[in-house]
């Protein structure tokens, strides 16, 4: 019997709830480390795609940030449910893309599922941990509460196919931000498959936008974009950090940079998940209200 030839999927971008090809028309290929043959075509995001993603994120911000904390938690939990359901698909894809063992891929995906559940639970609690009522020396009721910082750009670490993306997406999302993620350049497939999960998990269109492509071609534009409030970078490349802060100064972006977690630490809950990561995606608002008759 003749060997059946496989259908190779084209992985497209995720912008505003849609899966468009790159406006540039460009793509790149991901190769199997074992067979050295192409596994898939991936859209090579451009400056225009990035701008579209920011527009979509800005548009989605008011309604997403106005959702109740309970509702945001429910939606994160839904993402975990759908991911659990489709985990085999992601595992198989990871094995194909990275050449790793099934067991390792499974560990990564289940960590992601558990991490989503963990952050889902934080949705209506971090405000109580990080907010304060302030005993001012005058007749005012004064309190401080975290609010979303706004449109957040996340430069996802290349170390793993999925866990760095989920580990940054979840705290940013649960805090009420809308996101533009620049996926791992090395392992872009899992990011887009995960986008399909997001698209079917009650996450409103535009709340999460994922771009694949050559990072160097996009992060400069992300840093310069005047409608991005904050950039989150995981890595230790000083030239990247320098560029982000230099360009980001144009609109006083909050540039949050961490040179951790690294390697196996991504799977370690003590190292790769924290309510303080939610804290890094919020602004504090203080309100004074008079007390009197």
């Amino acid at each position: 019997m003749q060997k059946r030839s496989e259908i190779l999927k084209t992985y497209k971008l995720f912008i505003g709830g849609q899966f468009p090809r790159s406006e540039s028309g460009h793509y790149f290929q991901v190769f199997s480390p074992k067979t050295k043959k192409p596994v898939a075509n991936v859209a090579r995001g451009s400056r225009k795609d990035l701008r579209d993603a920011v527009t979509a994120a800005r548009k989605a911000l008011p309604s997403w940030s106005a959702k109740t904390a309970y509702n945001r938690g429910q939606i994160l939990y839904r993402m975990a449910e759908v991911l659990e359901n489709r985990k085999e698909e992601l595992i198989v894809e990871m094995v194909k893309m990275t050449g790793c063992l099934h067991k390792k891929a499974e560990k990564e995906v289940t960590t992601c599922i558990d991490r989503l559940v963990w952050y889902a639970g934080w949705a209506d609690k971090y405000q109580q941990i990080f907010g304060t009522v302030n005993p001012v020396a005058a007749p005012y009721f004064n309190f401080t509460l975290p609010e979303p910082v706004g449109v957040v750009g996340i430069i996802v670490s290349d170390e793993w196919p999925l866990v760095p993306l989920v580990s940054k997406l979840a705290p940013a999302l649960v805090a009420g931000n809308t996101l533009v993620l620049i996926a791992s350049e090395k392992y872009p497939l899992s990011a887009i498959t995960f986008a399909e999960i997001i698209a079917t998990s009650d996450v409103p269109a535009g709340v999460v936008n994922i771009l694949t492509g050559i990072k160097k071609e996009m992060i400069g534009h992300l840093a310069k974009h005047m409608d991005v409030n904050s950039i989150n970078y995981t890595g230790s490349d000083v030239s990247v950090l320098k560029m982000l802060q230099e360009e980001g100064s144009a609109n006083v972006k909050r540039v949050i940079a961490h040179d951790y977690p690294k390697g196996e630490e991504w799977l370690n809950n003590a190292k790769a998940q924290s309510p303080y990561w939610i804290h890094s995606f919020v602004e504090m608002k203080t309100t004074w209200h008079p007390i009197g008759i």
Binding site: A138, T144, N251, T286, H289
Partner: protein, 501 residues
Amino acid sequence: MTTLEKKVTRLEVVEPKQLNFGKKWDYAPAPEATDFVKIKPRYELFIGGKFVKPKSGNYFKSINPATEEVLTEVAEANEADVDAAVRAARNAYEKYWSKLAPAERAKYIFRIARQLQEKGREFAILETMDGGKPIKEARDGDIPLSVAHFFYYAGWADKLEYAFPGRKCRPLGVAGQVIPWNFPLLMAAWKLAPALACGNTVVLKPAETTPLTALHLAQIIQEADLPPGVVNIVTGFGKTGAALVKHPDINKIAFTGSTEVGKGIMKSIAGTGKKMTLELGGKAANIIFEDAPMDQAIEGIINGIYFNQGHVCCAGSRLFVQESVKDIVIRKLYDRIQTLRVGNPLDKNTDVGAINSREQLGKIKELVESGVQEGCKLHQSACELPKKGFWFPPTFFTGVAQSNRIAQEEIFGPVLSVLTFRTPEEAVEKANNTAYGLSAGVWTDKGSKIFKISSKLKAGVIWANTYNKFDPTSPFGGYKESGFGREGGLHGLLPYVKLVR
């Protein structure tokens, strides 16, 4: 318009209520005595616990902006001086301050607080002479708030383990702090108190037009026997600040000042890994709804923009009035600015003092001129201004469009832009239509409306039915281009610590 409608237009109703007391309610002069305040003829840098001559050999003059008299001359620190200060701070950090028991650290800060409290009046007079602000504001605002700030953070020094659940606090090292001229001592307190409480040592750079209270604070720090080098104060201009910011042995930069300079700082230290907080400019919206307690709101608007001559980053410089009450609000505002007493800052009855510097006065005049050029209607107090010194009368503009420069740019003077809105949604939309996001005010008697509007305003501090209130327990800081990081309260500790498990 029908005759009936004409009869009830608001203007006709308020006309008879116009305030006009003529000279009947004039106050006798009530100047604060200055004779017991000793201003030295010359001030040196405060480095390593000693007052030292600057290596630069240069001194610059500090003047009283209300009289243009030279008060004293002050050392100008160059790069070598800044380097000496940073070394002293590093040495103090390694040798004493980071090793000191937190409870002992607390006691030093308590000492500063108490000493400052004791010398409060002297500091108030100095602040007014050096900066031009009314003595009543320095006396009742700047100084007691500075004291309270030291008291508040002194108490935190040995309680940091309770501040951040699941984490311990570690100091960062040496903090470089650059502060503005609008609240010289208060900004020094906002910077020093949390930095010291968290175990850092400091090099502080006061503004060139207002270095005096910081240097007198240095005397208190010396008297309080703080280990030498824990606090160092280097005076000078922008160049001195830049040298401090760029110094390689600084771990943390805290800056309060203009957005333009803040952006420059962010750029200049990009990639260095220095921790940074910026408290920058603002163009705050003060929103007044038709159901607001009107007289209280007018007082709040006046306080919001004319407090400290409008030299306030969180000044309510854009007033949004609901159209239905526009006429009455403008009328009352106009009446009220006529009664503001502008003049000698040392007079206890003065409401609006001197503009801080000739340069700042020039900026204000330039922007006001742009408002006139762009077709906005100018309303000013008819007050008489002193012949000498730098002065600008309380001013507001009507007929302002959102795109006008006076509605977009920070004026940092006693100039208000009045705009209107019809619906709450429109008010929010217009209020947020700025690159800044430091503060905002909401005036309405309906509590639920306050919370609805305040939750939609993109600003770090919201005052409901009040304005320009400050407290050491209350975090302060901006959204968007007004900077990042918070000063005050529990949140004010975070910029000065590393969190570890």
